[in-house]
Amino acid sequence: MSDRVLTVSSSPHIRSKQTTMSIMRDVLIALAPASILSIVFFGWKSLLLIAICIVSCIAAEAAMQKFMKKPITVGDLSAAVTGLLIALNLPINAPWWVALIGSVFAITIVKQLFGGIGFNFVNPALAARVFLVASWPTHMSGSAYLPADAVSSATPLAIWSGESAGELPSILQMFLGNGVYGCIGEVSAAALILGGIYLIIRKVITPVIPLGYLGTVAVFSLIAGLGFDGMLFQLFAGGLMLGAIFMATDYVTSPATPLGQLIYAIGCGLMTCIIRFYGGYSEGVMFSILFMNIASPLIDKYIRAKKYGEVKKNA
């Protein structure tokens, strides 16, 4: 007994099994259906883009941390998640070097320079997409979305907004994603919803942000007079599902309380609709989430949890 060294630590002495790594692994699993469908719809080049982004994100993180003499934390898989999200937000014709530069930008500039995981002020994958769209617009829009065997001419939102001519796919097509053009991971609403349900079941996310975001877009669409089909079209089109389920729910850049999250989600939905319906840009998800990312510390400052036993009169 006397020679045994007992561990002493502060309570609690038990911890849940969920870790940062297990959460990131769950996000990767949840993105698997959309990733697999991107390869089915767009071919092997999708796989190549995914591989380039994931590998360069991990490599960039490791290199940056080594350079800054910090512990290397690529094992938490957060860089892999960022990489996969960047890839799924690329058009199929994006060149390999665009994928690489976007990944390095997301990890080194947006994530590591601000302090690494937990300290980025906007979603790194989204910031990378904005950076790429602004830097190489020709590689990130228009014909960049069209595979070699394309039968249509543009993304559904571009057609709907009148930016491009062409025939809109059916709502069922939009839901499943077959024959729809867009970023490689955003075309199948069904695959993304499946991933979202998995994340909710695994308690990685709560439904507040996705439902608040999608609900706002749905209500706005009906109010704007788009009708029921028009509303479904808006929900399934473009990056909304990918954004509402996987990007807006990024912990670091969304508020902490359920009420704060609802405000944030409604903000995302309103901005998306305003940009889509009245703006000059056919897709609004990316900018809406980035804007609300920046607003989220402000939301957290004012919307705090209402504590137990808050001053109550004659309870």
């Binding site: 002493v8 002495h13 934390t73 302090g115 949890a305 137990y308 036993g309 309870a315």
Partner: protein, 444 residues
Amino acid sequence: MVTKRATFKGGIHPAYNKHYTESLNIEDMAPVKQVVIPMAMHIGAPCSPVVNKGDKVKMGQLIGKAGGFVSANIHSSVSGVVAAVEKRLTSDGQMTMCVVIDNDFEDTPCDEIKSHDIERLTKEDIKEIIASAGLVGLGGATFPTHVKLAPPEGTKIDHVILNGAECEPYLTSDDALMKEYPEKVIGGLKIIMKLLDQQKGYIGIESNKPAAIAAIEKLADETIEVYTLDTKYPQGSEKHLITAITGREVPSGALPSAVGCVVSNTATAASVYDAVMNGKPVYERIVTVTGSGIKTPKVLKVRIGTMISEIIEFCGGLTDDAKKVILGGPMMGFAQYTTDVPATKGTSGILCLNAKDAAIQEPSNCIKCAKCVGACPMHLMPMYIAAYSQKLDYDKAAEYNALDCIECGSCAYVCPAKRPLVSAIRVAKREITAKRKKEQEAKK
């Protein structure tokens, strides 16, 4: 008697691990040669020893006199001879004044241990008995019972509640007590009801103790309401038990009596019964000895002052890979660096964990997942309080209501980054309290 379901908002669902001991009967711990009884094992002023080295003492005899109103008498747990009155190491890590008694193995009871006729006792008599018997909250908080049962003047009490939640994982002491001695639990509740002029009494038990619920229900008459509580940690927190049963929230910084409630642990109620009916002071308690690090888990009736090491030996000893010994439960208990400390009135459990269960994971960056916000039963924002505490910005931590934290550990339990949230918040609470005290003194 009506059974109702109730719960509160927030909280967590840890692995309960009650299987080690939940089917066991209470067993008497073998008598030991010597007991070391600390003079401070309750909240409040320490006791002053009233015996000297060489004195003969009887079982149940007063050996430490309460050091004030908020304090509780201490009695000998064996009969024998006082071997020493000196400072010894206790489970709080301090050197505490202790009365060391050599056991003569006779268990000669003192004169006070005799049955009373409850009908002939006045309320004042009952209060006096409870105070002199050294009763404290046996759930682990060890707040003197006579203080709790004397709500401040002018407060109207309408709910007397017994806490049978036992929400700490692993522990089954209260469960065993309710199954084996339901008459003492209910008898104790009725005495408390009489004391506080209540027509009704309430008992809350978590749904994972069906046998205890059945045993209590069987004896509960129409004056007792049994509530089946959702199995969720920290359901046994006084505030959350009140909320579950009455729907009321205890205001920040106030006592349960502010919302008309008095809450006692079931084990405390049983000790009220023992004291009032049989004149028996608190000199023994039920202890769950459990976990992956003990050879034979047991639920034991242990004399106060028995060394933890002897209790562990009685349970077959620690396993070869045992790495941690915790007094209390895994959520709020205290890890010990040595087992050479005595069991006290607050020792509800001895949890022994093997190396795997005791492994400490390295903390990583907060990813602001806000799981702690959802888990906090006080509805605070633990991640911000802890972050400000670690940046030494205690004013900001106070602004985020650090002082309302009940240190239940739910936040640290759910944290995927394994951050030491509770420890950081504890530091903030201490600093804030110290600063306020200083400011108050400066005003004088």
